[in-house]
């Protein structure tokens, strides 16, 4: 019953708001419809409407999936100092990291669903009902760890909000173990996703032991980058409070991640270029092109250059403590990792293909539609949950306000306006 009231409260929150808020919702809804039209087309005609073919059989969708797994994993970046070292300024914003994780995992699974040829048969890989090929197939592991990670973060976020809603103190013996558990899980989702590619001898481009560490390092760059920008937007538009100190602390943590990310990239490049085995072919395609096929060269270099610039920006205290350069750096590293994970990780794995043929992949409009749909859905969900979180935690929205509304109808409007402001 209590939980139902909490849910009811949440609904009240998301269906009330300023004009800007509703405009944003409307915009997202439009994007979902626009994107959804593309996806319906794909459902009707099959994956032929994408530009994937037998040569490049995974591409844009799986790239986005990989990137979002990174975003999801990055939540722990904030969780670790908050709970382990009990570092106050970050503690309150950790919940946003977890909300981000929840939404990112949902987007991940959506990207998988749109990528597979027969989504209605998804149940075939469920344990018990279907014939899950566990433990042989890493995809089943990935599915398992993603859902566990999702559940853990969802539980923590919901429970914390629930407690705030009822103005109770949350039970540490519930939250701390779950949070501690989510840390190895975050490492786990990323590692398993990397292993998904890593263990394929057919694809020498991925067949490197450094893939999983690189995944982790880049995730710890891109995830917090989103949060840094998000927090600044939130504190300008809502009552959400966050000290500069906390943002700078996140930025400082990102420096380490960025350094390790660059270092791993260099290590990988060195190994391939120095040993110049047959496997170099894919790296050559990525960084220099093969013959006339230089499609990825621009992306590959821009990703590296952006990540170096961002690293310098974050490394130098002067630019790190300046919000303009900080945001620039965050955008740069975010784009760098997005390019790296989305384009320059998946495509060169398939180009040239196993028989040496080059198929040039460019995402089709359907793929972009579908991706927009999923991202908009994710943002919508994220907006909802963030709004709930802000109102409950920072604006004192609680069970009391719900009761007041019930008994004293006439205050309703006043309340709402005050909340919205």
């Amino acid at each position: 019953m209590n939980f139902l009231r909490f849910i009811l409260g949440c609904f009240k929150i998301i269906f009330s708001g300023s004009r800007v808020y509703f405009a944003w919702l409307f915009f997202l809804l439009m994007m979902i419809i626009w994107g959804g039209s593309g996806y319906l087309n794909q459902l009707e005609n099959g994956l032929i409407v994408t530009n994937m073919r037998d040569s490049v059989s995974w591409a844009f969708y799986i790239g986005n999936f990989t990137f979002l797994v990174g975003v999801a994993a990055a939540a722990v970046m904030l969780v670790i100092p908050a709970y382990i070292y009990d570092w106050k300024p970050i503690k309150e914003i950790v919940i946003f990291g977890e909300i981000l994780a929840v939404c990112a995992v949902i987007m991940c699974i959506s990207f998988i669903v749109v990528d597979i040829g027969n989504p209605q048969k998804f149940w075939h890989m469920l344990p018990g009902i279907g014939t899950m090929n566990w433990p042989a197939s890493i995809l089943t592991w990935d599915f398992f760890v993603l859902s566990t990670y999702f559940l853990v973060n969802l539980t923590v976020a919901t429970y914390l909000l629930y407690c705030y809603f009822y103005k109770k103190h949350y039970n540490k013996s519930i939250v701390i173990p779950l949070v501690l558990f989510s840390i190895p899980m975050a490492v786990g989702i990323h590692t398993v996703t990397a292993f998904l590619y890593n263990a394929l001898p057919a694809r020498p481009f991925w067949n490197s032991a450094l893939l999983a560490p690189r995944f982790l390092a880049s995730a710890f760059c891109s995830g917090p980058a989103i949060l840094i920008i998000l927090f600044q937007i939130l504190r300008k538009t809502t009552k959400f409070e966050i000290k500069d100190e906390a943002i700078f602390k996140i930025a400082e943590l990102m420096v380490y991640a960025m350094f390790i990310n660059l270092f791993f990239t260099i290590a990988e490049l060195f190994k391939e270029f120095y040993s110049h085995t047959e496997h170099l072919l894919y790296w050559k395609y990525l960084y220099f092109g093969i013959g006339k096929n230089t499609e990825l060269v621009v992306y590959a270099w821009s990703s590296i250059i952006m990540s170096i610039i961002a690293f310098v920006i974050f490394l130098v205290p002067k630019t790190r403590y300046n919000f303009f350069t900080l945001n620039l750096g965050a955008i740069l590293i975010y784009s760098s990792v997005y390019i790296e994970k989305g384009i320059t990780l998946i495509i060169p794995g398939f180009t040239p293909d196993t028989l040496g043929q080059i198929y040039v992949f460019v995402p089709s409009s359907t793929e972009i539609h579908t991706a927009v749909m999923i991202f908009s859905l994710g943002f919508l969900l994220f907006t909802f949950i963030v709004k709930i979180a802000i109102e409950i935690i920072f604006e004192g929205y609680s069970i009391d306000s719900l009761k007041i509304k019930k008994t004293k109808q006439y205050i309703d409007e006043k309340e709402l306006t005050s909340i919205n402001n």
């Binding site: 120095y274 040993s275 110049h276 085995t277 047959e278 170099l280």
Partner: protein
């Protein structure tokens, strides 16, 4: 203000000077080491002059070990059974796919007539030695430039310059190198460089009783080796390592690739 000016000027001065010094250094170093830099970039004369390679017709190899024995004699390779510049291996494949490789004393004493094992489905000999790779990993890793590819494509060791670190022994994918127990330097097949430069065939090829092994110039379209490669279906060992070996095997079986 004035103080600042002087500071600036002195700083500028410093940059100028240090720049000049650095430039000078660069000039000095350019006078002669430029060649080294060029060499490091991997410039290799291809298309002009000889570019030596080896070929073996495994159908003809009878595993007599003459090549291994002659190599030891010709090149003063230590007698102990773990130092070889050239050796012969016998591969035996059983019906259930198990591959046995044996090389008693590198084949120098020949291979004993085996008690015929009914399990063995097929068997073959493979003479091995340095593959004289065009992109040789041993040359790549040598810290002092003691291992090098000669202008005619033979991978050689400069014994007087080698420091005996053994890095090249680790780097060679074909196990063709060893550390000489007396000289403490790396040692390997030179394709009998001292012979081929005098117009003689390498010792192993001289003594081969069946003419299974040949050598020649890959740039010369009429050389025995080029003809051999054209007329047979040759493969190299471990092609996926992309070391571009110049040791061509005809009738190399999958078990040995």
């Amino acid at each position: 203000m004035e103080k600042e000016n002087t500071k600036v000027s002195s700083r500028r001065d410093f940059f100028k000077k240090s720049g000049a010094i650095a430039g000078g250094l660069l000039l000095v170093s350019m006078l002669d080491p430029l060649k080294q830099i060029k060499a490091l970039a991997g410039e290799k004369p291809k298309g002009k002059g000889a570019w030596y390679g080896i070929g073996v017709d495994l159908e003809k190899c009878i595993g007599c070990g003459s090549c291994a024995k002659a190599c030891k004699t010709e090149n003063n390779v230590p007698k102990e059974p773990f130092f070889f510049r050239s050796w012969v291996e016998q591969y035996s494949v059983t019906a259930n796919g198990v591959v046995k490789v044996q090389s008693p004393n590198g084949g120098v004493d020949g291979f004993k007539q085996p008690v015929l094992d009914k399990e063995i489905e097929k068997s073959f000999f493979i003479p091995k030695s340095c593959n004289h790779c065009a992109k040789s990993p041993c040359e790549q890793v040598c810290p002092v430039g003691a291992t090098f590819i000669s202008p005619d494509g033979v991978v050689l060791v400069d014994e007087t310059y080698c420091i005996g670190c053994g890095y090249c022994v680790q780097a060679c994918p074909y196990a063709c190198r060893y550390l000489h127990p007396v000289k403490h330097t790396a040692d390997k097949c030179t394709l009998c460089y001292h012979r081929i430069k005098k117009g003689l065939a390498p010792a192993c090829i001289t003594v081969c009783p069946t003419g299974a092994k040949i050598y020649g110039d890959l740039n010369d379209k009429n050389s025995d080796l080029v003809k051999f490669i054209k007329e047979h279906n040759c493969t190299v060992l471990k092609p996926h390592l992309n070391t571009k070996p110049k040791f061509f095997y005809n009738a190399l079986k999958e078990e040995a690739e």
